[in-house]
Point group: C2
Chain length 369, copies 2
């Protein structure tokens, strides 16, 4: 039984919202207090465009939290366990953010966009409040706010050609999370090599909310020779690739080591950051569960799960599967979840308690495809 | 063109979610990372039940932020400009929360539920992050977390009879925001006289998320003789009554004086709180706009507005109407918004730039009915 989405003023509209509706948007959710497109009604075609061609996604919900002022870097260092030494304008970094207990509260990409300005390109939690509270309590000389910035993603193997046609061949040389502040037909934006897929791609950070339709149309036109079409952060591909969805895959106790973020947590750096002592204790104790893929038996799932499914080992609770779907490329039902290390290592696998019955499954490392 | 709401694990389900779907829920939104019911498909009947009878609402999205520990009150005092002297277990208080700039970031009801435990029953922003950051930065001895608590509202003129039948006649003596920690058929809960309407009512704060269906059924059964039926926070009644919807009616600059919250802002109290100096400056400068009602000409609106409509005075921007609808009781289109003091005082009224044309309007004090 499906539900309609109520549309009112409390939930914000992306600068691309009208364009997405014209392009045939059929379903949406809410993310960072903004409508987030989730389907144009043809999941198979959207998956195919992403995996074999090129797709354009309204991901304006990936809001920016700007830290601006003399203490911007000082605040950024407090906010993340990742060592920010060597940060430069033009190269982003993935920076987990933890609370004082070492629990992850967001996993943004950080972009230094000016000498005194840093952006956090956030997942679905109010980091603008967290960062402003830390800045205020520490009396830092920095302003924390949400700027008028809205990313439009271009994803898929043909995305580089589209973006090169728009901006020039220099984009082919951009490193992952590398970016350039530039413009397109006078529209101010940031071009970054990034995006929430493993199919390659770019994000255009629109810097003028009045020009969403204009940017959308320019990308659609440039992409037409490559068969570009609308899409959304892809439910199936992200499972195959093992991309983390904050809030879906995490709970109120999840720490970054459970998520395999060890490379982004620098406990021995000289700089202080929030959660340092808690994370040291967590690391010393060792993790009891990990974010992992699942191969799940049974007839192909028709869609995704509406809520977390319990995972059991020999009948006892062993974690949860946060998102599951049939993968055409794997040729099996797959899923992702936070599962006990014992269950991951179990030679006879685990069981997933779906809404339609209990299915045998086994843990599998990413990527699943 | 309507949109479907995607249902997945990232957005949480209320303990009453299954019950609301069985009761015929047709539309929802997302609030505090949880699905929020918005319609059962018959707005006129839902309005009538609220205004003339009794309705039950799943308002579990009104999440609680618990402050627990020896410094709970100390933290609460830091968080709100309202003086908390005289706070007692059993009597809630409406407590605006502001950031360091004096901008409102939530407007919860505060309930002290134990000697060392305070709940903030919040609107749609992650106060759990704000409060945890303040507590951590100030090294307070208090834990900040979201407890397993989910309010179910019973609203309307006949709500007192329903709640008295369930709990006893003592509920008739509860003051506004007064509450008692108790149980119903062994289900742990808090009974409070509160709710987001001006039709009278109660909220049952369910304290065991496994027992949502059970509580829903008990209330439905007790309410049957009074004609109870499902409903949601009511779009039209809240406009008539002038209830603030945080996020819809507020923007990134809104201060509590603009919202008429002067009685809840105690700038001269001896206690320190966040935003004190900013709020003193704002008060001294005087407000330039206010939250106010609107009576709007033209044919009855069919539904609500999808986004804010500009309000103009003599052709110049003078604020926005955040929510508008036809009110059967007023016999006119009405709205609420943040509008310049000049526009409010204008003898010839203002204009509202609707999606279907420009309509004459005039400001009007609450309640509009």
């Amino acid at each position: 039984m499906s539900l309609m989405l109520s549309v009112g003023a409390r939930v914000r509209k992306s600068p691309f919202f009208a364009a997405t509706r014209k392009a045939g948007l059929t379903a949406a959710s809410v993310y960072n207090h903004m409508f987030m497109p989730t389907s144009y009604g043809d999941p198979a075609a959207e998956y195919d465009r992403l995996v074999n061609g090129v797709a354009m996604w309204d991901v304006a919900v990936e809001r920016q939290v700007a830290l601006k002022g003399p203490d911007a870097l000082k605040l950024a260092r407090l906010l993340t366990p990742r060592n920010l030494d060597g940060l430069v304008i033009g190269q982003g970094k993935y920076v987990p953010i933890c609370n004082y207990d070492g629990v992850i509260i967001n996993d943004p990409v950080l972009l230094q966009v000016d000498e005194d300005e840093i952006w956090l390109s956030i997942a679905d939690s109010d980091i603008v409040l967290w960062a402003a509270a830390i800045a205020g309590a520490h009396r830092l000389d920095v302003r924390v706010f949400e700027p008028d910035v809205s990313p439009l993603a271009i994803q898929g193997p043909k995305s580089t050609d589209v973006v090169a046609d728009l901006f020039g061949d220099w984009v082919r040389e951009l490193k992952y999370f590398g970016f350039l502040i530039t413009e397109l037909a006078g529209i101010p934006l940031v071009v970054a090599r990034s995006g929430w897929s493993k199919q390659g791609g770019f994000e255009l950070y629109l810097r003028d909310g009045q020009r969403g339709q204009e940017l959308w149309d320019l990308v659609a036109k440039a992409g037409a020779p490559y068969g570009i079409g609308p899409g959304t952060p892809n439910y199936v591909e992200r499972l195959e690739s093992g991309l983390i969805s904050y809030g879906a895959d995490t709970d109120a106790e999840t720490n970054p080591f459970e998520l395999g973020m060890d490379n982004f947590i620098n406990l021995d750096q000289p700089h202080e950051f929030i959660g340092k002592s808690a994370l040291k204790a967590i690391k010393a104790a060792g993790v009891k569960r990990r974010f992992i893929g699942l191969l799940i038996d049974g007839a192909p799932f028709k869609g995704g799960n509406e809520h977390r499914w319990d995972v059991t080992l020999n009948g006892a609770y062993a974690g949860f599967a946060s998102a599951c779907a049939y993968s055409p490329r794997v040729g099996s039902n797959i899923g992702v979840g936070l599962i006990s290390t014992a269950a991951i290592a179990a030679p006879d696998g685990v069981a997933v308690i779906t809404d339609d019955g209990i299915l045998p499954a086994r843990a599998a490392p990413f990527p699943l495809v």
